[in-house]
Point group: C2
Amino acid sequence: MMERRVTLKDVARAAGVSRATASLVVRGSELVAEQTRKKVEQVIAELDYVPHSGAARLRGQKSRTIGVIIPNLVNTFFSEFVEGIEATLDTTGHLVMLASSRDDPERQAGLIRRLREHDAEGLILFPADGTPPETVLQLARSNLPVVQAMRHVGKGLTDFAGSDPVRAVRESVRHLSDLGHRRIAYVSLAGDTSTRTERLTSFDHHMQAMGLENVGIVEVPLAWDGSPQSAGLLLDLDPRPTAAICFNDILASGLLRGLYDRGLTPGRDLSVVGHDNLSFIDLGAPPRLTTVQVFPRQIGMKAAELLIRRLADPGAAPRAEIVPPLLRVRETTGRCD
Amino acid sequence: MMERRVTLKDVARAAGVSRATASLVVRGSELVAEQTRKKVEQVIAELDYVPHSGAARLRGQKSRTIGVIIPNLVNTFFSEFVEGIEATLDTTGHLVMLASSRDDPERQAGLIRRLREHDAEGLILFPADGTPPETVLQLARSNLPVVQAMRHVGKGLTDFAGSDPVRAVRESVRHLSDLGHRRIAYVSLAGDTSTRTERLTSFDHHMQAMGLENVGIVEVPLAWDGSPQSAGLLLDLDPRPTAAICFNDILASGLLRGLYDRGLTPGRDLSVVGHDNLSFIDLGAPPRLTTVQVFPRQIGMKAAELLIRRLADPGAAPRAEIVPPLLRVRETTGRCD
DNA sequence: TTGCTTGTTTAGATCGATCTAAATTCGCCT
DNA sequence: AGGCGAATTTAGATCGATCTAAACAAGCAA
């Protein structure tokens, strides 16, 4: 029934050489004679031999595998990030083990454990909402090379690749200020992440610095269909904002939808700024969303590069790579009179 | 420098028991006395012992790992699909190794090999554009449980989970026909996939069956920014179509954009039907896209279920699970007079 | 006491590939 | 022929966890 796995011994026997020689051929060593190599390679193909990586690892071989943990995959922001990682790690022959923490720190801890069991050489961690510092501390102690991305816990403990939330918010606020807006609200996700904290703090800070009025934070759940409700919440604020900055493009698009449902026009009745510059906002019906581009793919690549660097030099001091965000002014923001 | 890995032997020594007993504790066996278990578990926590899955696999243990290969991650269609897989496999404690073939069959072959080395218990394959039948034949021979999803190569050779392209096209055509459209074009992606072939064949078939005029196939590359050009191509067709069915929502949204850029209105000047029902089309400015919902998440779950079933019963006859697509009539299709 | 459960623990072999150190073959020179 | 170095090949130990079969301990009945 369940036929036995083809092992190196089988290959060796069939090719009339020793296991050691067969092993050398598999690993492409120079030491073996051309003729022998040919013979062995032929047998490998015939028997459909597949090396047992577990056995190899037992002798100290690398697993050529990197763990990647992300909170979820709901929008292309995450998938572009993962794509960037995958593309870069591919150049060094690493395979990605992708797992989703669903923004649950406990689940995340379990995933980390399993990735370690599978001998992942390193980990790229997009920390779950509410990740406790201990998780990162323990990782730092465990000798497993770790790069945090996008969000961070325990700043400076590990390498980090991300965007610049302060700058993103500053540019958004300044843009609205330049257009004459004075009362601005922020539409955020609920949760406890460094990104959220930094952006809200930064929002408040820049609003004050520019002498504008922060008329409130509106919170909505991260779900494609829940975001239009933000329109109602914003319009109920007192004083009523003339512009809103959104945590991401999904929330912003939802807000646009909510405005249209109420017969209002974005950019005229309420200016809207998004965040992320997801690909889809360039398509469909106008108006195009004014938003902050954050280059998740590049950040993924940076994260992978940091990890590769760290694998080569585990002792190096933690480094942070920031990909500066870029405001893309389009059609959902307009003058306020 | 590079301190040695903590092994079961270390745990055993520190806890004053044998390796065998320690192993039993790790695996949660009933055989060990409460007191001993406590002691060992404590030591495990203290030493931060992480089992070496490679060594375990050597003794015939399962890897609790499933390989998933997809063509890319460009849109949420793929990520929702992966999410469905991940959520279902999570219930059986399986970890996903995700790799992107980038629609390159050779790269895909390499990925399959690597997943086999890592002892993946099974594979969910969303075959790359142009995957040769040999790839699937070899997989079928190799004893590795495989489920193909969305697209398929070598029909009936493996389990399959997907949508129903014929039905999707039929409903789209019928809907347009009901609205009085007679000249319809199809906007497709270039490439060589079962999905594409089935949809184009089906389009032609149903157009004839309903006595309508297939005015042509327009092809565009799969890229977020390339799709608006389809508008120009469609308007140049002779005779000029009054409606277009698109391969997916990205192409459809691009087409909408192209129409607006030319001052035309979807649903009036040209009716547009999409495919996939990506989440974002419910957001942003109206009109909402009329499209065919295909439930990638459910398909992912079905695929994972098929795989789980096959792991339990490797000898079972290949099965196909079809999640019926659903036409969502919204605002980009209108009467034709 | 001895014998027999039942419950708990363990020594030792084993999985498949790799590595070291040593053996073997080959070509070529004296 | 014999000897030498280079090129190839190989026997055997080894990695860490698991499994088998057997040992051991404690409790109880006869």
